[in-house]
Symmetry: C2
Subunit: 303 residues, 2 copies
């Protein structure tokens, strides 16, 4: 009998819940809009309750554990008094919300929580585009920019968790001078210059509506490549997975690879950043499912 | 009977060899100038031969294993065909030099090799200023700038090893416009702007001769703080140790701490980067001995 786990991807706009044991054994997936913490967590708990009941009726496996892949900032340090709580966030009603407490009460199974991006990095390492790669780096570029790292056999935690979105970048010479960046903390950090909302505000158009020959894409690739190069220098990843909605921009991944080589200026003599770069900086293999699969993988690791 | 290990700190200007089991049990230390690989490694092997003989005569412990903390770039990946070899380096005669091969033949004990900075990070984690801190980051600022990381219970390797020295930095507005940076690859990366030789070339004076009120120090702190903040965003270290000769500059450590807080702009709500910053960004506890002690610690971990 295959062990079965629960996964919750807690995003700022929607929650995705799943029961299963991997990308090819997902028994059930549901998703719903993110409301306040209480309603949202109740709904997640109800889903797992139904799933557990269905498994019982089938005389099949029980849900061994549930993993939560949560939007940040969130306290991911087991043992910390606020472990499993959302920290200060602009998302109304969620600052300080206890995620693990209510779920633990409802579900009565072991629970584990990490950031959505650490979970995605874990999932891509476990089943996806970064199999056997340690360190594995996952960067997501969407409404925000975030990064997760799997290193020396475990997700990366520390002072808190990585915050790749706020790396400083050098300004592209063709970036309109009137655009100062939109990060409420830093203005022109990576997220301030290269997140989806930054593109929209600068160009007056949603990223998916910008044509392939728009100058936005070269500028965007320059910023993202700086972040990738910074992560190569600090983390030495064996593979870099670039996900999130903005990465679907036409030709963007290829432009980022090219800019990375330009910025390295031949410094690292590794095949990975030379002829092998197409296999080094890659799209996610698990697509939209990386978050919830990462949550399953977190639960699996509890056993 | 306490186990005894050998450590070699292989630097670009000198080699330091030691036998012992920790900072308070260093039986013997010797250091000599770095010549070509053959003479230098022979000399190291001769030292350990004498030490081993002395231990035998005393009926005391034998050297269980030897660790090597080597200047980079160096192949640190056990299993790689060039594991234990120096890679491409400007240091005459050392490009491609096999370090572990000749030592293994001479010494006949288990050997392990890592970068000098990863070894220093390990030593500060094991006995020094970053005890119990994981991740622990060690940055050295001297002739070059390098970084080592201890994370999830082990030194950080990957594509190769971290190369913090080449992080891009934003230019300080008061940095003389005529100074373009001295990194042969990137010009104005961190090492190009903030290494000892960069200071010397820019200000026409060795760092140790620059007075406390010289504008160099604010500019220097700005560059180093950018690297520290970048490492906080990518690695989330629980402690950051800043070592190397340039860090002995008057008031520099305090200036770096102040700049880090300015650059973070309140983004990370952690005591460590607030009231606790003096305990978060710290000087090495092991001083000049971090490298060779790290080499001992590498050997100790083989057991």
């Amino acid at each position: 009998m295959i062990a079965v786990y629960g996964g919750i991807e807690g995003g700022g706009t929607k929650f995705v819940c799943a029961v299963g044991s991997g990308p090819d054994e997902l028994h059930s997936v549901c998703s719903f809009d993110t409301e306040g913490p209480e309603e949202t967590l109740d709904r997640a708990a109800a889903f797992f309750g139904e799933q557990q009941e269905a498994l019982w009726r089938q005389g099949s496996a029980k849900i061994e554990a549930v993993g939560v892949a949560m939007f940040g900032p969130v306290d991911v340090r087991p043992g910390s008094p606020s472990y499993g709580h959302v920290l200060s966030t602009p998302k109304a009603g969620w600052s300080g919300a206890d995620i693990l407490g209510p779920l633990s009460e409802s579900l009565g199974v072991p629970l584990v929580l990490d950031t959505d991006v650490n979970a995605a990095a874990l999932a891509e390492w476990r089943w996806g585009a970064a199999c056997e790669c340690d360190p594995a780096l996952y960067l997501t570029v969407g409404t925000g920019i975030g990064g997760g790292v799997f290193v020396n056999g475990r997700p990366l935690h520390g002072l808190l968790h990585p915050e790749m979105g706020h790396i400083h970048v050098r300004r592209h010479p063709n970036d309109p001078a009137s655009f100062l960046g939109i990060c409420p903390f830093h203005g022109d950090c990576l997220e301030g210059m290269a997140s989806g909302p930054a593109l929209e505000q600068r160009w007056g158009s949603r990223p998916e509506a910008l044509p392939v020959d728009h100058p936005a894409w070269d500028i965007q690739a320059y910023y993202l490549a700086q972040a990738v190069v910074t992560c190569i220098y600090t983390l030495a990843p064996e593979r870099i997975v670039l996900g999130g909605g903005v990465m679907r921009g036409p030709g963007l991944l290829a432009k980022v690879r090219r800019e990375v080589r330009i910025l390295l200026k031949g410094y690292l003599r590794s095949e990975a950043v030379g002829a092998g770069i197409d296999a080094y900086i890659v799209a996610p293999a698990l697509g939209d499912r990386a978050g919830v699969l990462g949550a399953l993988a977190l639960a699996e690791r509890l056993q």
